[in-house]
């Protein structure tokens, strides 16, 4: 059993059989009746969330009504494709691999990104790698500001604070990746009359850890109500390959490997789960602190961070806004 799974808090423990049955029943209703589609396309990244969604879709819709799609690009870890294939093989579902590097190059994704990186690290060029990181849980009064970690070809690394212009330039350029993946998913969905599955867990959905019209776009999101540790529980129950259960969650977006913790959540995901659960159920920071092994002031800071990210996420979740309601639509 994975370390993440084994540390899943009792309070979030699932009745996996019952939860699976509930989701499977819903998926049949959503895909076949509500959406009137013949199956589902799932972008399978080799991570835990998309793997669980693939297993649930195969169980609900039938293995012959699922397409697993792999969309590697120049910065992807080779493990992502290998583990994605392992999911498709374990389920015996159809799969397609499309390398999206050429599309991204044509859109100048890498070039725009590198221009933005050079705003704060002028020496950045071929052979260099980078990632964006947030500091760990800080003192309660300190802002959490992104830094860029740059590794030179000789292995030397440096860390520089990002400016707003560089940060926005890097993020907006790399968002081409998630949006291109979604475009390819919908190509196959249109071709097969399938629906596109979204793969966010509750942390990601609640906190806006997705790209609008990229990985945030989908026809249905079957695990958006599950905390991350519950996704791990379900993965073990469904028989997701062990290596995927043990793999640390990554963004697989930047050229240096980067955890979701250092990119977005700033503390281990099992603690984030409990803090989100705490704020959702009205548990005070003082009461939650001993359960998560943190100081009360740190939990208060996480609660404020959760609320702040929810404000930002509102725009990401918003549908196009109309000036007035349109009848009969």
């Amino acid at each position: 059993m994975s370390s993440l799974c084994s540390t899943a808090p009792d309070i979030l423990r699932l009745d996996c059989a019952r939860e699976t049955e509930k989701i499977v029943r819903s998926l049949r209703d959503i895909v076949f009746r509500q959406l009137r589609r013949k199956g589902a396309v799932i972008g399978v990244s080799g991570g835990i969330d998309s793997s669980v969604v693939a297993f649930l879709c195969a169980r609900a819709l039938g293995r012959d009504r699922v397409l697993a799609l792999f969309t590697p690009e120049a910065d992807s870890s080779p493990d992502s494709l290998r583990l994605g294939r392992a999911v498709a093989e374990a389920l015996n579902v159809a799969s397609v691999s499309e390398d999206i590097s050429a599309i991204l190059r044509a859109a100048r994704c890498y070039e725009r990104r590198d221009e933005a990186v050079r705003l704060v690290s002028p020496e950045y060029s071929d052979g260099y790698k980078f990632k964006m990181v947030l500091p760990g849980l800080l003192e309660p009064n300190q802002y959490s500001i992104f830094s860029l970690v740059v590794r030179a070809p000789d292995g030397g690394t440096k860390t520089v604070r990002l400016t707003a212009e560089a940060y926005l330039g890097i993020v907006s350029a790399t968002n081409f990746k998630q949006r291109t993946r979604k475009m390819i998913e919908y190509y196959h969905a249109d071709r097969l009359q399938y629906a596109v599955a979204g793969t966010p867990n509750r942390l990601e959905y609640d906190q806006g850890f997705f790209v609008k019209h990229g990985d945030g776009s989908a026809d249905f999101k079957p695990i958006a109500h599950l905390y991350k540790s519950q996704v791990y529980e379900l993965a073990a129950y469904l028989g997701v390959p062990e290596e995927i259960q043990r793999r640390p969650p990554t963004t697989d977006t930047y050229s240096l490997e980067q955890s979701q913790e250092e990119f977005y959540f700033t503390l281990p995901l099992e603690k984030m789960d409990l803090c989100l659960y705490g704020i959702n159920t009205g548990v005070s920071a003082a009461d939650l602190a001993p359960a998560v092994g943190m100081r009360e002031a740190q939990v208060e800071r996480v609660y404020r961070m959760i609320e702040a990210k929810r404000k930002v996420a509102k725009y990401l979740h918003a549908s196009p806004v109309l000036v007035q309601q349109i009848d009969k639509v």
Binding site: L138, N141, Q142, Y143, I145, R161, T163, E165, A308, K311
Partner: protein, 96 residues
């Protein structure tokens, strides 16, 4: 520079960039974060504005709510930075 002038400039930057609907009132002691006025990207933009406008360097340890979370706090921080080598409030400590 007089603190009244600093307050005008900082308030102008905030209202021009983050309160575009024109219907909100910004008091000098309103928290930027608690009021949902700026987010973490806004903090980066505020830092860029301060550095470019006043020729200062905002150090990592000065990126605190004590220094940057309201017009009053930014003005106090700026006044300290502009008048000498005084240490502005750092993480873990209170406003000095």
């Amino acid at each position: 520079m007089h603190t009244t002038t600093l307050a005008l400039q900082v308030r102008g930057f905030i209202t021009d960039n983050y309160m575009l609907d024109g219907n909100c009132v910004l008091n000098d002691d309103d928290s930027f974060i608690d009021g949902g006025i700026i987010d973490s990207t806004g903090v980066l933009e505020l830092v860029a504005f301060l550095q470019e406008t006043y020729g200062i360097r905002v150090e990592d340890e000065e990126l605190t709510t004590e220094n940057l979370d309201s017009v009053d706090k930014v003005v106090a921080y700026l006044a300290q930075k502009l008048t000498g080598p005084g240490v502005a409030a750092v993480a873990g400590g209170g406003a000095s």
